[in-house]
Symmetry: C2
Subunit: 154 residues, 2 copies
DNA sequence: GCCATGTAGTTGCGCGCGCAACTAGATGGC
DNA sequence: GCCATCTAGTTGCGCGCGCAACTACATGGC
């Protein structure tokens, strides 16, 4: 028997559901495309590469283990290996063996990397504000924060 | 002169801004990864391929021009060419010349494609509800919809 | 001490996509 | 009618990433 008053969990999305879901896809695609283009054009970096510099900049001594970088950047270890390869070519990062663990390697921010980070960070923050935060009153920013917390907490 | 009461647009993000922005990145990455894995495992399709079937299913006569598909799916025309190639191999889609425009081509949903769409749609809707909508009361879904509208309208 | 198992990082391979160049056909100025 | 320009679609190439296999080292049971 059909039970139209008890919609199936695989039935069509209603307009509220659609707006919440599709809107996120649209906004994410658009904003990240713009930020990626800005970062590439202004600094020759991808956003992922920038984020790695950012994580290193926040870390004590400007260095982190490869696996920690990978998990923070939401990449696999193999992806991080290649990403750091490119940052090493740019002289923004150096590798260092981990003393006390012969398997481990650190990625270390160089002075040139720290300089690049400082400049790129301004581009990135301005882009996030211009393309995203500026269009949202603080009340809506707070509402988004709450929603994300609900989605992410298991 | 520093003007701490007038924060620079490239200064650090405050906690509210950070939660709104980073949360979206996290939620988007996580939910799309899960939906992609479900779609691949259950039906051997990527979400992009599924969406093309969906657009065709909604179109009159189950057919659309390549360029229209590309813009709806947020892909380039070249990406759509290859994506449709794969759907043709799967026998879910056929190509047809556009009469009256010798350049044009339609992608047409086959009966097998319509069947695949029906089944895959259930997987996808269930995934969206399970991983995203279920964790948001309707008030928050409405708040998200409003926020997306603000970000997207120029 | 020795071996089974686990972990860190790298490498070979393939996929999905964008960019730029290209072909074929449409369109407008004259 | 003719040619410059535009548009639709495809193709060659490269990039960024994940998966699985591999190497090297660490760790715990005995």
């Amino acid at each position: 028997m059909a039970r139209p008053d008890q919609p199936a969990d695989d039935g069509p999305l209603d307009p509220t559901e659609l707006a919440a879901w599709r809107g996120m896809l649209r906004v994410h695609a658009r904003v990240t495309a713009i930020l990626d283009a800005q970062m590439r054009e202004a600094h020759g970096l991808t956003v992922s590469q920038y984020e790695v510099l950012l994580f290193l900049g926040d870390a004590p001594d400007g260095q982190m283990r490869m696996a920690d970088l990978a998990s923070r950047a939401l990449l696999t270890r193999s992806g991080m290996t290649r990403l750091v390869d490119r940052l090493v070519e740019l002289r923004y990062v150096e590798r260092a063996a981990a003393e006390g663990d012969g398997r481990g390697a650190f990625a270390c921010l160089t002075p040139a990397g720290a300089d690049a980070l400082r400049v790129a960070q301004r581009t990135h923050r301005r882009g996030i504000r211009e393309e995203f935060l500026r269009k949202l009153p603080q009340s809506e920013q707070l509402a988004l924060g709450n929603a994300w917390e609900h989605v992410l907490r298991d």
